[in-house]
């Protein structure tokens, strides 16, 4: 734990506390980094993201000091640092501090690297690991986008959109999530729609892009000069000689104005960027659906990708320069029929990629959200028609710090049919732990992603705190688990605690801890299949109570 200016503490696991006093020296030590600050109402911002850092825990320690714990994004490189700041820190003073970020890779770089499936085989292990994470994140995004797009209310389960939020019932979210992998076909993603809708137009534009006649000054033989301008005259006046022929020199060339067709326009630069982005997206899609390579959608996207590569290399558009900075659309982009369609497609693609870029920094949070859906699905399978079933899942139309599900989402309890011993089962999200009457205050500082509480009676309950980690190593995990065990033992009635750590695609790191009551479980892609392991071990351990 690093003590930065005696105010901010950076922890390498979510359960870290200022009292741990473990120093974090660099990014590589962080598994799922967090920063702990004395409690204030003010939001904490980070240079790396536009939204405030997500508050994952708030608690008061034994010395009656109040703390807030914020999750940190991952960086774009193996070693990254960033500034965090608060407009009103402790004592009302502005606060600014540099903190290390977890190791990461730039999403666009990753996409470039992984674009060609054949070459991907030769990539280093670390990049291939990121490929799996990318699959998870992209699948998660597409699932939630699909969920937001479809409103299917009925008399018993209301659904609707309001104020940038899509309200869907747990019943549908859970069942859709559980069935998401059972379709047996490639998902209808944005790139599929674009491949179908803009391929032809894109071809036409690449073959005959809109060009402008640009005036330029070039040396021409005297006989061929048709136009000169003052600048050419000034040049001519500066040349030695008595007449034009002497001034034309040995080559007998003078500076004159020529007009040439030029495809380097804003709209063609946009098309060039579109070709590039669409190609990357095609690569993503093909990679994600490699198991369905014969599917019509995948074939369409593959064909589209081949065309994109051809157009990028051989069409006039290749002569356009790269875009620099955001595009301010001109008249052509807004009103020319062909370019307008491409502009619309470009915006959609840009928006999607921006969303992916934003979420990429919060991989662990997206993984945790996916696990949460998984647990909802498991619970629903066990007990249909419960208050949980009817609870609303409030989904932001755009992810905020890696999570689509609004922090206002809370779940109702499940009746006693799941566990023979428990009268009620409650799924509580980590951010609400301090508000939930069933969770002991000692848990607040541990910042679990969510809790499963089995209430045997009004006074007796078993708690299953869940942490989700997406990037860690065996060495770091062992160290972190030891710290966690120590903390859990300090909690009253620790024998009724069943801690669970979910890892992504790290089967070698699975283990038991906390005297056999805790488990580290690895979930593989697709999570829908592997989440059943949680059902067997986690719910089983609660049932054993």
């Amino acid at each position: 734990m690093a003590n930065l200016a005696s105010i901010a503490f950076v922890g390498c696991f979510p359960w870290a506390e200022p009292s741990d006093r473990q120093s974090v020296k660099n990014s590589t030590e962080l598994s799922r980094g967090c920063v702990i600050l004395p409690y204030t109402e003010s939001d904490v911002f980070c240079d790396e993201c536009k939204d405030p850092l997500p508050l994952i825990a708030r608690w008061t320690d034994r010395d009656r000091k109040s703390w807030c714990k914020y999750e940190l994004p991952t960086g774009d490189f193996q070693h990254s640092q960033s500034f965090i700041f608060q407009s009103e820190g402790v004592g009302g003073r502005p606060f600014r501090q540099e903190v290390p970020l977890g190791p990461g890779v730039l999403r666009s770089f990753l996409d470039e690297q992984l674009e060609d499936e054949e070459e991907a085989e030769n990539l280093p292990q670390s990049i291939r690991r990121y490929s799996k994470i990318r699959d998870l994140i992209d699948t998660h995004i597409e699932f939630l986008n699909d969920l937001c797009d479809q409103i299917r209310p009925n008399r018993y389960y209301w659904e609707g959109n309001f104020g940038g939020i899509a309200a869907r019932s747990v019943r549908r979210v859970a069942s859709c999530w559980m069935n998401a992998n059972e379709h047996g076909n490639a998902r209808l993603a944005l790139i599929v729609k674009l491949a179908r809708e803009i391929a032809q137009i894109l071809g036409l534009v690449c073959d005959g892009p809109r060009v402008v006649l640009r005036r330029s000054r070039e040396f021409q033989s005297i006989a061929k000069i048709q136009e000169i301008d003052p600048s050419c005259l000034r040049w001519l006046a500066r040349q030695p000689g008595r007449d034009v022929y002497e001034r034309a020199g040995s080559r007998q060339q003078l500076l004159g104005v020529v007009r040439r067709e030029d495809s380097d326009t804003l709209e063609n630069r946009m098309v060039k960027d579109l070709l590039h982005r669409a190609r990357i997206e095609c690569g993503n899609y093909i990679s994600l659906n490699r198991d369905f390579s014969n599917h019509d959608r995948v074939r369409v996207v593959s064909t589209f990708r081949r065309h994109l590569i051809k157009w990028e290399k051989h069409s006039e558009i290749a002569h356009a320069k790269r875009l620099t900075g955001p595009v301010q659309p001109n008249y052509v982009l807004l009103h020319e029929p062909r370019y307008k369609k491409l502009w619309d497609a470009y915006q959609l693609l840009l928006s999607q990629q921006k969303q992916k870029d934003d979420i990429w920094r919060w991989k662990a949070r997206s993984f945790s959200e996916s696990c949460e859906f998984g647990l909802l699905g498991l619970l629903r399978q066990q007990a249909r028609r419960s208050l949980l079933d009817k609870s609303d899942v409030l989904i932001h139309l755009e992810a905020i710090t890696g999570k689509f599900v609004s922090k206002d989402t809370q779940f109702g309890p499940i009746g006693h049919s799941v566990l023979p011993t428990a009268s009620e089962l409650v799924l509580c999200r980590g951010v609400h732990a301090y508000q939930c009457p069933f969770i002991a205050r000692e848990f607040y500082s541990l910042a679990a992603d969510f809790f499963l509480v089995a209430r045997m009676s009004p006074t007796v309950s078993a708690v299953l705190p869940v942490w989700c980690l997406i990037e860690t190593t065996e060495e770091k995990l062992i160290e972190g688990v030891q710290v966690l065990e120590r903390k859990l033992r300090d909690i009253p009635r620790s024998d009724s605690i069943r801690p669970l750590i979910l890892l992504y695609d790290e089967p070698g790191l699975e283990r038991v801890f906390f005297e056999g009551r805790g488990k580290v479980i690895s979930l593989e892609f697709p999570i829908q299949k592997s989440i059943k392991k949680v059902a067997v071990s986690a719910l089983g351990s609660l049932g054993a109570l």
Partner: protein
């Protein structure tokens, strides 16, 4: 799912009476093509509820099915499920909807932020989601309690309209009656076929968890256009007595209390008990299981309900024992035997522990009988009210008679001849109006005026739902620089909200193409100058007037006793043809008794006979005159005219005799008699002309001034045949006398009488609105004189002789009347 509303029929009956929403529609798939009712979510589910919005933009929605949504379930987690007094509840059970609408139509829920919702809108929004897709082609009929006034109706209609639902409202007893008629109507053939005669009576008994509603309806003969006759239910004006608090929820709560004590330790808090009760009552099928379950027919021990319980339910202090007594009391107002009885409500078919049914217990307590009883859940399926509502819509659509209604009492103030008065806006010539069809006032209300440069027209309304006067506003699309005459047309759809009052300007083009209606949403309570609210009487009293109200003499019972004895004595003597001197003595005694004023009624002027010639007792002055008048004609006793004058008698021959006697040499007795007894405008005009032209008012004595003042203040039509010129002359000369009296510092009777003449002569404005312009020379002179008198009164140099009124105020009142701004009565009379 027991019901499907996916293929919505054209008409849909909806009832939210009780814990579940009931729908009814004609089932086209049914071989018999019957109207079928269904309970939303199923009768075995937890009670239907409305989930209040938690976030901006989130709609209110219905919660139904086997398991509830967590919101407002009374659990301790999640946060939205918490229900307590501090935060309220995020769930509004349908069982509380009617009561909540009646008690203000608002509900509050605090979750992160305080939200306040209009219940009627939440209900409409929720129903719109259920019937939404097909609502454009479907029409809902929503059943409302019989006591709902136009304000609640309009609120409900507006709420439905806001969510694009076509909806009509129907009275609860009428919905029940329509079902009864459908079942038993064909048996009723033996009735007199005369339009609007009553062919029997029907008792509608609604027994709900929350209250009982016992309504008597008439079965009225209705004549169709093709001269066919049928019976329709007729609804009279609702009475407050017909609604009683019920015991259903209390019984359930008591049951829950005992269950809670059995299940949990006594250490639990009141809040925990409350939350548990709430959860069990509204989020489990407890009430559903009660269908056919047992209620206790015994008084409930707990008489004080906790504050938290009152949040759960609209609990009354009424216990079943009290209810039985109150039903017995109510039975006094009811008939013993009815053509039919229809019993509806969720509680109707439940059983008491000794196996008698609730409906049977209520009917026996009411001591009513009928051979044709229809009971919801017994010999009729559940959803009787919804079915009745659906039937109503179909009858209406088929242009068949539905029911007959009576209109609410709605009055407004108009000025008739300068005299403000209340008139009935919805005053039907006939007792009944057709339910479901527009009723229109046969005549427009004429002669309303819009003041120059006004942007709105204000109307004072006496509404039967309010104890005090309300003011409504009709916003005008344009203003005019001159006074504009307008008329009002009034129409109303019974039970469908406010009346539509439209303004019709005399100048047709005044509003252009705009139609101007009174805006009921801008109705506000009238507050008088003294900060108090207004009743009908106080409103009129505080209305600025252009002339004072009549100030009639009142009759006093105490003063009649002495006068009656004296008159009987005179009567007896006249019968016996006694000597004239003796009769004169007796008449003198009678006169003294008749003129004597009742000081107990001060400052009002009261004698044995009032100014209309009536007395409190059984004495008949008309019979007296049958003996006295012939005696007078024969013997001419000199005290007769004056004595009889004090009875203010309306005797044409006596009046004619006085008229003929008013000559230049007229005796004072005839002048007094003219002042007290003249009613005919012709006689009055003659008298005034004589006073002014024959004698000259400047020389007029107090008797003549008093006579004139009495005529002016007693008789509404006194100035009818007096020309404005004559009245102006009267005022001019009266002003002269006033000035003279003021300069003499004399506040005696002459001063008082001349004040009365001046102020009551302003009543000429009733017949000539332009009479005595406040800015005219004479008016200015009068006001100046009175202001000088005010100054004198302030200095103490001018004082009224007799009486204890504030002279300054009284003089100011006269000035205000001259300025057409008078308020209240003048108290400086005799």
């Amino acid at each position: 799912m027991t019901e499907e509303l996916d293929n919505l029929p054209r008409f849909l009956g909806v009832s939210t009476n009780g814990p579940w929403i009931q729908f009814a529609r004609r089932n086209a798939r049914n071989a018999k093509d019957q109207i079928v009712a269904s309970i939303l979510g199923g009768a075995s589910a937890f009670p239907n509820s409305i989930l209040l919005p938690r976030f901006p933009g989130e709609p209110a929605r219905l919660d139904l099915g086997e398991k509830p949504h967590p919101r407002g379930t009374g659990l301790s987690w999640p946060l939205e499920s918490i229900v307590d007094l501090e935060h309220g509840a995020g769930r509004l059970p349908i069982g509380l909807v009617i009561e909540t609408i009646e008690s203000g139509d608002f509900v509050e829920w605090m979750e992160a932020d305080t939200h306040r919702y209009r219940v009627s809108e939440c209900l409409a929004e929720s129903l719109a989601q259920i019937v939404g897709a097909a609502s454009s082609s479907s029409e809902l009929v929503y059943v409302i309690p019989n006591s709902w006034g136009t304000r609640l109706q309009q609120g409900m209609i507006d709420a439905f309209r806001r969510y694009d639902l076509k909806c009509k409202l129907l009275w609860r007893p009428i919905a029940a009656a329509l079902e009864w008629l459908d079942r038993f109507g064909d048996n009723l053939t033996n009735y007199e076929k005369v339009k609007y005669t009553t062919a029997g009576s029907l008792l509608s008994v609604y027994i709900g968890y929350e209250h009982l509603e016992i309504t008597e309806l008439e079965l009225v003969v209705y004549e169709h256009e093709d001269r066919q006759f049928s019976l329709v239910p007729g609804r009279g004006r609702p009475s407050k007595l017909e609604r009683l608090p019920s015991f259903g929820y209390r019984q359930r709560l008591k049951y829950l209390d005992s269950e809670y004590e059995r299940t949990f330790s006594s250490q639990s808090t009141e809040l925990e008990r409350f939350s548990w009760n709430w959860n069990r009552l509204w989020c489990t099928p407890l009430l559903s299981a009660a269908q056919g379950s047992v209620l206790k027919n015994e008084p409930i021990r707990r008489t004080v309900d906790s504050k938290t319980d009152r949040v759960i339910l609209p609990l009354s202090q009424l216990e079943p024992l009290d209810l039985h007594q109150r039903l017995r009391q109510l039975s006094i107002r009811l008939h013993r035997e009815y053509t039919g009885i229809v019993v509806s409500g969720s509680l109707a078919n439940l059983a008491f522990d000794e196996s008698s049914r609730v409906w049977d217990w209520v009917i026996r307590a009411l001591r009513v009988e009928s051979e044709s009883i229809l009971v919801e859940g017994t010999n009729c399926e559940l959803g009787l009210l919804a079915k009745g509502a659906c039937r109503f819509a179909e009858l209406l659509d088929a242009k068949l008679p539905t029911y007959l209604d009576t209109l609410p009492q709605l009055e407004m103030v108009i000025s008739e001849g300068g005299e403000p008065k209340w008139i009935e806006l919805l005053d039907p010539a006939e007792k009944w109006v057709n339910g479901g069809r527009v009723w229109q006032r046969s005549q427009q209300i004429q002669n309303l005026a819009i003041a120059p440069n006004s942007t709105e027209l204000k109307l004072a309304i006496a509404h039967e739902e309010f104890d005090t006067i309300r003011e409504v506003i009709a916003p005008l699309p344009c203003s005019s620089e001159s006074v504009e005459k307008v008329a009002l047309s009034v129409e109303i759809l019974p039970a469908q909200g406010n009346a539509r009052i439209e303004l019709h300007p005399a100048k047709k083009a005044l509003f252009g193409n705009d139609r101007v209606y009174v805006n009921w949403l801008r109705m506000s309570e009238v507050v008088l100058d003294d900060g108090k609210t207004a009743t009908k009487d106080t409103y009129l009293q505080n209305l600025p007037r252009i002339f004072p109200e009549l100030l009639p003499r009142l009759r006093s019972r105490s003063k009649l006793q002495a006068a009656e004895i004296a008159l009987h004595r005179v009567w007896e003597m006249m019968r016996q043809e006694d000597r004239v001197t003796n009769v004169n003595k007796a008449l003198k005694n009678a006169r003294n008794a008749l003129r004597e004023k009742d000081q107990a009624m001060y400052p009002r002027d009261a004698t044995a006979f009032d100014s209309e010639g009536r007395c409190e007792g059984s004495f008949s002055i008309v019979d007296f005159m049958k003996t006295a008048w012939p005696y007078y004609l024969r013997h001419q006793p000199e005290e007769f005219v004056r004595a009889i004058a004090y009875t203010h008698i309306d005797h044409p021959e006596f009046h004619e005799h006085i008229r003929e006697s008013i000559k230049w040499y007229a005796q004072e007795d005839y002048v007094i008699a003219a002042g007290k007894c003249f009613r005919d405008p012709e006689h009055i005009a003659h008298f005034f002309r004589w006073c002014i032209s024959e004698q000259g008012i400047g020389n007029m004595n107090v008797t003549r001034l008093k006579a004139m003042s009495e005529i002016l203040r007693f008789r509404a039509n006194a100035t009818k045949l007096l020309s404005s010129e004559l009245c102006l002359e009267l005022m001019r000369r009266s002003c002269d006398i006033f000035e003279h009296q003021r300069l003499r510092r004399s506040g005696g009777e002459r001063f008082r009488m001349v004040c009365l003449v001046i102020v009551y002569a302003l009543r000429r404005r009733a017949f000539d609105d332009s009479f005595l312009d406040p800015e005219s020379k004479l008016a200015t002179r009068i006001k100046d004189e009175f202001r000088k008198a005010q100054a004198d009164a302030t200095e103490g140099t001018l004082r009224l002789i007799g009486g204890a009124v504030d002279l300054f105020q009284q003089l100011q009142l006269i000035i205000d009347y001259v300025d057409r701004q008078g308020k209240g009565q003048l108290l400086i009379g005799d």
